[in-house]
């Protein structure tokens, strides 16, 4: 299970690197989606107990996975989805007004 923690760090830093270095606006929004997904994976991982079962208690189980982290993960997924939708709308509007998706060109046209 430790390798999943390394994957979370790898995805988090890959997303942060994408946001910092990419020139294309859509690639930046993809970077945000990657960081969002890595945080949700971390949330699920934090709540996981080896050998546990899903938090649906139709029968009595010995080890049950932590339900709070899954509820927080569900909330973060929906928040991430709506923030991405707003970002993409602004990307469309910027592309229509400035005609390009490249940040450097936008900064020049900005004047």
């Amino acid at each position: 299970m430790e390798i999943l923690y390394f994957i979370v760090i790898f995805l988090f830093c890959l997303g942060i690197y994408t946001i910092i270095s990419q020139k294309n606006l859509i690639k930046i929004v993809i970077g945000f989606t990657i960081v969002e997904s890595s945080l949700i994976l971390l949330l699920i991982l934090v709540g996981y107990k080896p050998g546990g079962t899903a938090p649906i208690l139709d029968k009595v189980y010995q080890i049950v996975v932590d339900p709070i982290s899954q509820a927080l993960a569900l909330t973060s997924i929906v928040i991430g989805g709506s923030v991405t939708a707003v970002m993409l709308m602004l990307v469309i509007k910027i592309q229509k007004r400035y005609g390009t998706l490249n940040i450097d060109k936008i900064r020049k046209l900005h004047g």
Partner: protein
Amino acid sequence: MIRINEMFKKLYKISLVVLLAIFLLYVFNEIHDLASKSYLSEHYISKGVQETGAINLVTSVLYDYRSFDTLGEATVILTASAILAFLVPLRKVAMHGTKFLIIVHQTMIFIVPYLAVLGSYLILFGHLNPGGGFVGGVVLALIPIVMTITYCIEFSEYKFKPNIKTLLEDLGSICFIILGLFGIVTGSNFLASGQSNLGLGNPGELISGGLILCLNIIIGIKVGAGMAKIFNSLIKGE
């Protein structure tokens, strides 16, 4: 000269990210040795079903123990769909729709009832099996979305009028708060479904879990209307 400057800037960014990675590795390594205390989740697991009446503990946490988060959550979706509807320009812009064969229209006619059944199942059985208001709502939102893709947007707007969607969203949020006030009326605090002396029913059945079922339906309709409006606004978005 510019190439070196470019290389230097790229190296600077890579080093920043590598530094962050090392910092996080150190933090995770240290944290992993400490035993993680989880007495709150133990309480939810042991007493969750009796206190809230819902089998699916995630739904009981979302709609009863921490239902204030879900209220904030529903407001985020409403604001997002309001922003996108607000940013749409007034003049009509046709999306470059592709002409689909008759097969696509036929399969679409088969898919829509299936989506409706699946969506309402996920909403209604939210507190018994995995699913819940958010997931069922988005599945229900797929119906207008599939219509927008196969037919033109005017047809989907004709079937599901934008005003009706906005009305559904706002009414859904108001009903969510009214159900919360129901908790105050019956003597206990705001948004109290497990604690308010409402019959919880026996956990296995459909009508059980106090207000969780109604909250699920309201959130499902609200998220469905919101996501459909977001999708249509993105398409109409100039």
